[in-house]
């Protein structure tokens, strides 16, 4: 009898802790329902649709009845598509140059703003401003600043005998976009670093001071390891963001001059929304998603065991 009671009690406990949901749990679901419905409708269903459409030759205008499955044809075509590989190359350059630059400058700025400077709060707000300003305003401002003939940037560079064509040059358009991306991201990075720096363990710095450690030693042994999780977070989010970079390209260069700024997201947009090759564009999206996922996992894996708390 006692055994039976114990078994029954155990089953009940498993049910409550495991697969079942108490009616009171419904209240929780009601709270998250609006967001959950939004995620399902605008993220999950489109995501599944992209995976399905990647194996079709669909052009939207032909409607659902026009969906024809074509197996792995799209992926074979991607492998042979010079436009795709060109866009991947540009995206890699954009990511590999802009992300480390943003992180390094953000870290330097974060450390500087962590010191007792006069007007520090105002400076923090100013540096964060680009992150919250509308992308159209940013784009139009930089377009004027980087006008090859009358822009402020070239008027300054003229003193050094340099006159880049910026957005009107296939050689300079991507560097110009990288400058804008770095300018837009540094403030955000510095703010995240700032909060991480304020959480850095004071006692370790005090111990290092007692041991007579140099500033560089303290940075290398205490500051950097304590900032590593933050750095990885920033790297992952910036890599994902840069891989998806679209707004400024659509606004300023439309992928040009020529195809000098046709990164993978813009190539995907052109393929889908200008050429109406939605099946092929979905396949590009899927391949890009897998690529970014692998890159993110590699970045994540690289930091394991190196953080101060690990």
């Amino acid at each position: 009898m006692a055994t039976a009671t114990v078994v029954a009690a155990g089953t009940k406990a498993r049910t409550e802790q495991g697969s079942g949901i108490r009616p009171s749990g419904w209240i929780g679901f009601l709270f998250i329902a609006p967001n959950l419905l939004g995620v399902i409708a605008f993220t999950l269903i489109p995501l599944i649709s992209v995976v399905v459409l990647a194996f079709t030759d669909w052009n939207l205008v032909s409607g659902l009845g026009g969906i024809t499955f074509n197996g792995i044809d799209n992926f074979v075509a991607i492998a042979r598509d010079p436009g795709f590989w060109h866009a991947i190359g540009l995206t890699l350059v954009y990511v590999v140059v802009s992300v480390p630059l943003t992180v390094v400058l953000g870290l330097a700025l974060g450390i500087a703003l962590n010191r007792p400077l006069p007007g520090r709060a105002v400076l923090r707000a100013i540096f964060f401003l680009p992150y919250i300003v509308n992308v159209v305003a940013i784009g139009m401002t930089w377009l004027m600043l980087m006008n090859p003939k009358a822009g402020l940037v070239n008027q300054v560079l003229d003193a050094f005998g340099v006159q880049p064509g910026w957005f009107a040059s296939s050689h300079w358009a991507l560097p110009a976009l990288i400058v804008m991306a770095v300018w837009g991201g540094v403030g955000y990075c510095s703010l995240i670093y700032l909060s991480a720096l304020q959480d850095a363990p004071r006692q370790l710095y005090e111990a290092a001071d007692i041991d007579g450690a140099s500033a560089w030693s303290k940075f290398r042994v205490i500051t950097w390891p304590s900032l590593l999780p933050t750095t990885i977070f920033l790297l992952v989010t910036l890599i994902i963001g840069a891989s998806q970079g679209f707004g400024l390209i659509a606004l300023i260069t439309a992928g040009g001059p020529g195809d000098a700024t046709t990164t993978i997201s813009y190539y995907m947009y052109q393929t889908g929304f200008q050429f109406y090759r939605f099946g092929y564009a979905s396949a590009i999206g899927l391949v890009t998603f897998v690529g970014v996922l692998v890159l993110t996992l590699l970045t994540w894996r690289a930091q394991r065991g190196r953080a101060l708390n690990d």
Binding site: N59, L60, K149, A168, S169, G256, P257, D259, F275
Partner: protein
């Protein structure tokens, strides 16, 4: 009392069902949500003419009510229209402006077959012409009808022309165009914005295609790229670095009004900037010259355009056809203020002058040249009917032209790249079922 517990699976199923209940009715392709009024979608703002067309139609046919919805005629706006058509949104009549979108819509069951109606109507026989087509015919079926004709011409800034002592040409060649641009170039004003499409003038409609390949091997394409590049290099055409960095392609009128350049090869839709000096200040008149000829050929760069189409899913076909016919045969006069000359030409010269040139035409335009170039002459309009891979080829031409005119790519190399990309696009699109 025993309280019912729900498994995760049941909870997710419930959420899914709720979502489906919320979403599915919105995607209904049936008559749910259809109104009694005729729904017309177009890219021209209602105030620029369509509202007056609708008003006149409702006065003549009081039994019909029309709602006009404007979509922005860009990639996103056209996508919105396509999604709405596919999703069963209540649209009876709509307009198509780009040739690429036309081929897709007509070939994907989004355009009703109007052949019988056109054939049966004596007023509309011109839409069956295939020499200078005013309709889009898909596999022998009329799917779209042009509502406007938009001939290209060259505008002269009269003040600057007289200062330079240049005669207003009544006919000229592309070489004379170049020489004139050179004579008009000063320290402050560039001779021309750019040059007319040389290959288009020489080759006419469907000039990108040659059988089942592209036609970019024709020397006129390289001639156009080379001439443009040379004129930019000698300072008689607008520097392409400025065009790209200031996005002038979309705002040419501002530079013309600001007298940054002189000759402007353009179409009637840009005349609206020239008769409203309060909104677009300027102190000069403009005169009209015809497009130059190339090797004796005189195809006009303009075309019949602004195609009206009927949604085959429309349950109000009779009303839709009544509206289409009204627009084509008698209702399009209000569209003149936006520079849309009726495709059937069924308006008087005076209606065109007062409609397209504003309230004080003598103040801003040289009427004699306007009458000669726009009203009296009958330019050969080139409307494309072959549209395989059209968006891809358009992009390839634009990309390579930009590189060539920036001075980064030799004209021959640029055209060969266009040819390679165009051949690939045609082959890929013709493989499709």
């Amino acid at each position: 009392m025993r309280r019912k517990r729900f498994s995760r699976r049941e909870v997710l199923a419930g959420v899914g069902a709720g979502l489906a209940a919320a979403v599915v009715p919105g995607c209904s392709g049936g008559d749910g949500g259809r109104s009694g009024a005729l729904q017309v979608w177009g890219g021209v703002p209602a105030a620029s003419g369509p509202a007056d067309v609708v008003k006149a139609f409702q006065e003549k046919f009081p039994q019909y009510k029309v709602n006009y919805t404007r979509f922005v005629n860009d990639d996103r706006g056209n996508l919105k229209l396509d999604t709405a058509l596919q999703g069963g949104v209540d649209i009876d009549v709509y307009f198509t402006y780009s040739q690429g979108a036309m081929a897709l819509r007509a070939g994907s069951g989004l355009a009703a077959d109007l052949t019988d109606r056109v054939k049966a109507d004596p007023d509309l026989q011109v839409f069956l012409d295939t020499e200078q087509p005013r309709s889009y015919i898909d596999n022998g079926k009329v799917k779209a009808l042009a509502t406007a004709r938009e001939p290209f011409f060259v505008l002269f800034n009269e003040k600057l022309r007289q200062q330079a002592g240049v005669e207003l040409p009544q006919s000229w060649t592309i070489d004379e165009f170049r020489a004139t641009a050179k004579r008009l170039t000063t320290d402050k004003t560039v001779g021309t914005y750019t040059l007319p499409d040389v290959a288009r003038i020489a080759l006419g409609p469907n000039y990108w295609y040659d059988g089942n390949r592209s036609n970019f091997g024709d020397p006129h394409f390289e001639q156009g790229f080379r001439l443009g590049r040379e004129m930019i290099a000698e300072g008689t055409a607008f520097p392409w670095t400025e065009v790209l960095s200031r996005h002038l392609d979309a705002y040419q009128q501002n530079s013309f009004l600001g007298e940054e350049f002189h000759l402007w090869s353009t179409a009637p839709f840009n005349l609206r900037y020239l008769y409203d000096a309060k909104k677009y200040p300027h102190d000069f008149k403009v005169a009209f010259a015809p497009s130059p000829t190339v090797d004796g050929q005189n195809w006009n760069g303009g075309s019949f355009s602004n195609f009206i189409m009927v949604n085959p899913k429309s349950p109000k076909f009779e009303a839709a056809w009544a509206f289409v016919k009204f627009w084509l045969t008698e209702g399009a006069t209000p569209m003149l203020k936006g520079g849309k000359m009726p495709a059937l030409g069924n308006v008087t010269d005076e209606q065109i002058v007062s409609g397209m040139l504003g309230k004080e035409p003598e103040k801003y335009f040289d009427l004699e040249s306007f009458r000669r170039v726009v009203l009296t002459s009958d330019p050969k309009l080139a409307t494309d009917t072959r549209l395989t891979g059209f968006p891809e080829i358009s992009l390839a031409v634009k990309q390579q032209r930009d590189l060539c005119w920036l001075g980064e790519k030799d004209p021959g190399v640029a055209i060969r790249e266009v040819r390679r990309l165009a051949d690939a696009a045609i082959a890929r699109n013709e493989r499709r079922p």
